[in-house]
Amino acid sequence: MIRCLVVDDDSEIRQGLQAFLERFGMQVSVAADGRQMRQLLGAAAFDVVVLDIMLPDASGLDLCRWVAQQHATPVIMLTAQGDPGSRIVGLEMGADDYLGKPFEPRELVARINAVLRRAGKGGAPQGAAPQPSRQLRFEGWAFDRLLRQLVSPQQVVVALSSAEFRLLSAFVERPGRVLSRDQLIELTRAPGVEVNDRSIDLAVSRLRQKLGDSPREPRLIRTLRGEGYLFDVKVSP
């Protein structure tokens, strides 16, 4: 059972979220401010914290950093401000995901599941991964995971689609490892999108195109017949 802590100063949102998430089989505790949140986190273990960024007694950003440092519990930030700057700051402060209010309740459930999968709860192939850094480099390319774009060795910004972004994220977290199509489907799952063999192949070919990787003799994303794909480069932060 997923243990979830909801922190929001609006009582109706707290109760609404609690009732909703419980319908999905989660065990939900609620806190109205930072003090309560610290108490609850000190008293019991949680799998995920859903944290509003504006609280009466503390900045959500500070709390977010505190949780990331003290408990290593994944944090999903909620905000009604919807400022792209706060999204970037929030993710850099150690939040694992970010959702603007008003959100689709089902979207929150999907994000919780995705965050837990990434954190290794849902049987992800990698153990408890440390907070991934915002920018990764490989072969002269820079991959900005917040702006979801690539910067080429010639300093040209190359935008990525969501599918390409999810695929490249899966690759850079597992460089030098062969990933089967099934694994890639699992790793790039997203709410409301159907991911299948064909869409994986399409995203791979688009990524190769954008990375300037020849489809006949790919150097970066190699095809291993019958096994899957291999991202064959050294990735550094």
Binding site: D10, I13, F20, A80, G100, P102, V156, V157, V158, A159
Partner: protein
């Protein structure tokens, strides 16, 4: 006492007065001395020693002066030097000395040229220095005014002028400017805070409503309410974008326009929309996040009113052209420009349940102009709207 103090102050007027006075007097004096030193030569007869300069020759020149009073011309010559006799008179006293018995006579041509030349040169030099001296505060002011706009856009501290430097007028202008800049920045900040607060206070109840609607899951009315919540949220987001746009200090970089169009099209296709992209790779100078927003708005419009969008990317000389064609009803010719106004809506779209905030095109054009691009609309002869976005080629 007060009057004396005021006289002592550094005013623009005083600077101008001193500059003109010193220049004119100085030029006359110097020209006069130089010419005198030359005049002294043929009469004095000290060959070979004149290279020592006018200073050494001064005694002889000054002695000559007594019998050679025509410099600066005091009369007799209608075409005297431009310096007025009155000013010359306030210089050295010599020309006022009583004349000897010599008759008035003109100077040799080369001496006249030397006389005029020296005066012109010195006045020109002083005018140049003086103009620079006088205009420096104005230049500082205009530079600060220039920086003010940028600082407000980037939400940085406004430039501050030194209030304790320069003439009284300049100090006053600096004070007024600093006050104005501070006020402007305060208003900008207040506006940003206000919009953020309104958006926060609207979105919190919307979140409550959305959660409440979860308990009435299968009611058709609930579904329509959810759609309304999305629409209101989109409007809030658009309004925020308008205000954020004013602060957008995103850096201009080289960007692959085809890759961007392809990415957005792939995302839309993933959600079941009909978008196609064709063209050649084209690098443009642009702000990545802004350009993404512009394209997102334009593609959203094309799909909302025109069902499907066909995107073409091409390089035209030093520009990159991105064209979006849709198959909708287009826009009446007379309104092609008006649709860029905020909240403007074409009558036919008002009646349809198509949603949209009425800010999409306004934001798109605003952000495009900021990147040095252009955004044009036209109706295609075969039907449908054509949007043409041009950007500077990288």
């Amino acid at each position: 006492m007060k009057w004396l103090k005021r006289c002592w102050r550094d005013t623009l007027f005083k600077r101008l007065f001193i500059l003109l006075w010193v220049t004119l007097v100085g030029s006359h004096f110097l020209a006069f001395s130089l010419v005198m030193s030359q005049v002294g030569r043929p009469y004095g007869g000290h060959d070979g020693r004149h290279e020592g300069g006018p200073a050494r020759e001064a005694p002889s020149a000054w002695s000559r002066l007594l019998i050679f009073p025509s410099l600066p011309p005091m009369g007799g010559r209608a075409d005297g030097p431009p310096g007025s006799p009155g000013h010359a008179g306030s210089g050295p006293p010599p020309p006022l000395t009583p004349q000897g018995g010599r008759p008035e006579r003109g100077l040799p041509g080369w001496l006249l040229a030397l006389d005029y030349g020296v005066r012109m040169l010195i006045i020109a030099l002083a005018a140049w220095l003086g103009a620079a001296w006088l205009s420096r505060p104005m230049r500082r002011l205009s530079a600060a005014a220039h920086g003010l706009g940028e600082a407000l856009q980037r939400d940085a501290a406004p430039p501050k002028l030194d209030e304790d430097q320069g003439t009284v007028e300049v100090r006053e202008a600096a004070q007024v400017f600093n006050q104005m800049a501070a006020q402007l920045q305060q208003q900008f900040k207040a506006r940003g805070l206000l919009v953020a607060a309104i958006s926060h206070d609207l979105r919190t109840p919307l979140t409550r409503m959305r959660l409440r609607l979860e308990t009435l899951d299968h009611e058709p009315a609930a579904q329509r309410c959810v759609a309304d919540i999305h629409e209101m949220d989109a409007l809030i987001e658009s309004v925020l974008q308008v205000f954020r746009g004013a602060h957008a200090g995103e850096a201009m970089v080289s960007m692959d326009v085809l890759a961007l169009a392809q990415s957005l099209a792939d995302d839309l296709a993933e959600q079941g929309h009909a978008v196609t992209v064709e063209g050649e790779p084209a690098l443009a100078r642009a702000q990545p996040t802004s350009l993404r927003r512009v394209l997102g708005n334009l593609l959203g419009n094309a799909l909302r009113y025109g069902e499907r969008a066909e995107v073409t990317v091409a390089v035209l000389g030093d520009r990159v052209l991105l064209r979006i064609d849709d198959q909708g009803p287009g826009i009446p010719e007379a309104q092609l420009e008006a649709v860029f106004q905020p909240f403007y809506r074409v009558e036919s779209s008002r009646n349809r349940a198509t949603g949209g905030s009425g800010l999409g095109l306004y934001i798109a054009r605003d952000l495009t102009l900021r990147q040095g691009g252009e955004l044009l609309l036209s109706n295609r002869p075969e039907g449908g709207l054509r949007v043409e976005l041009t950007l500077r080629r990288a």
